[in-house]
């Protein structure tokens, strides 16, 4: 017989829809747990507010939670699957690479929905506690000569400015989550034992940074240390992706009179953020493509 049209392949939209259902169902429990935690936190915040504590500001770009969620999501997506070998998923009549991509996409959709929920929750908290929701604030800028190693800072060297927060930076959590998710998905699909690689890399990075800081006069270690710091906190580094660099630019300084205030070493730059998003997402997509190559059917 020739193959019959009756036994044709399912449509890709059907596959994505089914993977959405399966992935959503599989994270039921963690989702409920998170909702419970959010409820508890909400009650605590309201209790604080009623006691007279100031409002909670709406600053989703400063939270590392979306990126964290993005990095952890592939675990939830692929936990019950045999990524390599003869898992049930691969016995289905869908091209292996496409099916993997459909599952990655399904996980991403759920992630974005979750991040949206998270951002809305933060907004509600700010509204309830009458906190700052526009992001516009008066901030203290540190001078260019600021040296973090000096313990006391002369207050007269700080500038006070009014910063109008670029609204586009409200999108930071979505891109942070997406970037982290794509990179983590690449690792999950690319390696049989992703955790060994992650732990190994983290250990290597940590050691290099530590040694690089200590052995400042050895070329290799000093450069490696510097490289790692740049990747982390540089202009287009990881922190730029995760918080438009707000995390690393913001710091607590101690004045010579002992007072401690929050000051900024610089301000987030929108174009820097956009470039960082493109670079890291590009890196993630490259990694994911390479990982998917490992799963291709036609060789």
């Amino acid at each position: 017989m020739t193959t019959t049209p009756l036994h044709h392949l399912p449509r890709l939209s059907q596959v994505v829809r089914e993977q959405l259902r399966v992935t959503a169902l599989s994270i039921r429990l963690p989702a409920i747990a998170l909702a419970a935690i959010a409820a508890v936190v909400t009650m605590l915040v309201i209790a604080d507010f009623l006691r007279g504590r100031g409002g909670v500001e709406f600053a989703p770009e400063l939270s590392l939670i979306p990126a964290f969620a993005g990095a952890l999501m592939p675990i939830a997506v692929w936990l019950n699957e045999q990524r390599f070998g003869a898992g049930f998923m691969w016995t289905l009549p869908v091209d292996r690479t496409r099916h993997a991509l459909a599952k990655v996409l399904a996980g991403w959709i759920i992630l974005i929905v979750a991040v949206t929920g998270f951002v809305i929750w933060l907004l509600i908290l700010a509204l309830i506690t009458k906190g700052n929701i526009t992001g516009d604030e008066i901030i203290r800028l540190l001078p260019a000569s600021y040296d973090p190693n000096v313990s006391a800072v002369d207050p007269s060297t700080l500038r006070t400015i009014r910063w109008s927060f670029p609204p586009v930076l409200r999108l930071v959590p979505f891109f942070a989550a997406t970037g982290a998710y794509i990179l983590a998905s690449a690792i999950a699909l690319g390696f049989r034992h992703p955790f060994r690689w992650i732990i190994g890399t983290v250990a290597a990075v940590y050691l290099t940074a530590a040694i690089g800081q200590g052995i400042a006069d050895d070329q290799f270690w000093a450069l490696s240390g510097k490289l790692i710091r740049t990747l982390q906190e540089g202009r287009y580094g990881l922190d730029t992706l995760l918080s438009a660099r707000a995390e690393s630019l913001r710091t607590v300084v101690t004045f010579s009179n002992g007072q401690r205030i929050t000051a900024w070493r610089g301000l987030p730059v929108v174009t820097d953020w956009i470039i960082a998003v493109l670079l890291w997402t590009g890196l993630g997509i490259g990694g994911l493509s390479a990982a998917l190559m490992r799963h291709r059917e036609n060789r």
Partner: protein, 299 residues
């Protein structure tokens, strides 16, 4: 010449320098019940995995309904119902009903009425999580998933494994009915020959990855005989006989040889070597199949 549902040419695959398949040329006629017999590790499961494109052969190729399995993975799988040897619960948190729904989304030819009937006859609990099913129940569920979309090819790996005699009989009845209702080619891999012999109409013997022989049930019936011999003194066996079992009396005058080959041809050779053929007994299917397995030469 009947069309072939499955055809392999020079198919070879080894794991860690152990040969699982050694230049195997399978010919499975359409509509047949083709039984692959052989010990564990003889290469049966590997064959299935290659047909499903879950594994790639080291050399040679395989085709299903004329489609190359390596180049048309998804399309080939759309025409196959596969029940692997080991039950993999996969989504342990899904109920049986949900798992069937999941499979249904991928097969446009799914017959849900048939699935319901199968579930009833196989006595599978629909509201139980698949992780909580017994091993036998889980395998029966896999069988339902494989049969419900009425694929033209069924690959059953040790289908009677772990089934009590009642369940086994039920399974064979089910397969007989399925065969009567839908034109299907069935390939069964097993080392329990007698459990499936009432269904078989073709047999292939695999020994250590080599295809020792493959033939129809009628050919098997005709070509395997137990010869009761009266031997002269100092009798020398004729060359070129494929004898799989020989039993000689202590005085060397009587012998019982199980030989594969055309009866007239074999009898002639034996007689011209000086032996007297008292009788040429046909063998029951299982005994004949076992004789094939111990045969030395591939045909």
């Amino acid at each position: 010449m009947t069309a072939l549902a499955v055809q392999t040419t020079n198919l070879s695959k080894s794991y860690d320098n152990q040969s699982a398949l050694d230049r195997v040329d399978l010919r499975v006629p359409e509509g047949s019940v083709y039984v692959m017999v052989g010990a564990n590790g003889a290469g049966k499961s590997t064959t299935f995995k290659i047909l499903m494109n879950l594994e790639r052969p080291d050399s040679g190729n395989a085709s299903v309904f004329g489609l190359d399995t390596g180049a048309n993975g998804p399309e080939v799988r759309a025409h196959i119902g596969y029940v692997p040897e080991h039950y993999d619960a996969g989504y342990r948190w899904m109920t049986s009903a949900r798992l069937l729904q999941h499979a249904e989304a991928f097969y446009p030819s799914w017959d849900s009425a048939y699935a319901d009937r199968l579930v009833k006859s196989l006595d599978i609990r629909m509201d139980r999580k698949t992780g909580g099913l017994s091993k036998g129940e889980g395998r029966r569920l896999q069988l339902v998933m494989a049969m419900s979309h009425r694929p033209p090819l069924l690959l059953l790996d040790e289908p009677t494994e772990g089934l009590d005699p009642v369940a086994r009989r039920q399974l064979l009845t089910l397969i007989a009915e399925h065969l009567a209702d839908s034109p299907t080619t069935i390939v069964i891999a097993t080392h329990h020959i007698h459990e499936v012999e009432s269904l078989a109409d073709h047999i292939a013997a695999l020994n250590g990855g080599r295809l020792v022989a493959q033939m129809s049930r009628d050919e098997l019936q005709k070509n395997v005989r137990r010869y009761e011999l009266e031997l002269p003194e100092n009798w020398k066996a004729p060359a070129g006989l494929v004898a799989t079992q020989t039993r000689t009396s202590p005085d060397g005058r009587d012998a019982q040889w199980t030989i594969i080959g055309d009866e007239r041809d074999v009898a002639e050779r034996l007689t011209s070597s000086g032996a007297n053929v008292r009788e040429a007994q046909p063998l029951a299917f299982e005994e004949a199949a076992l004789a094939l397995l111990s045969g030395e030469r591939a045909q």
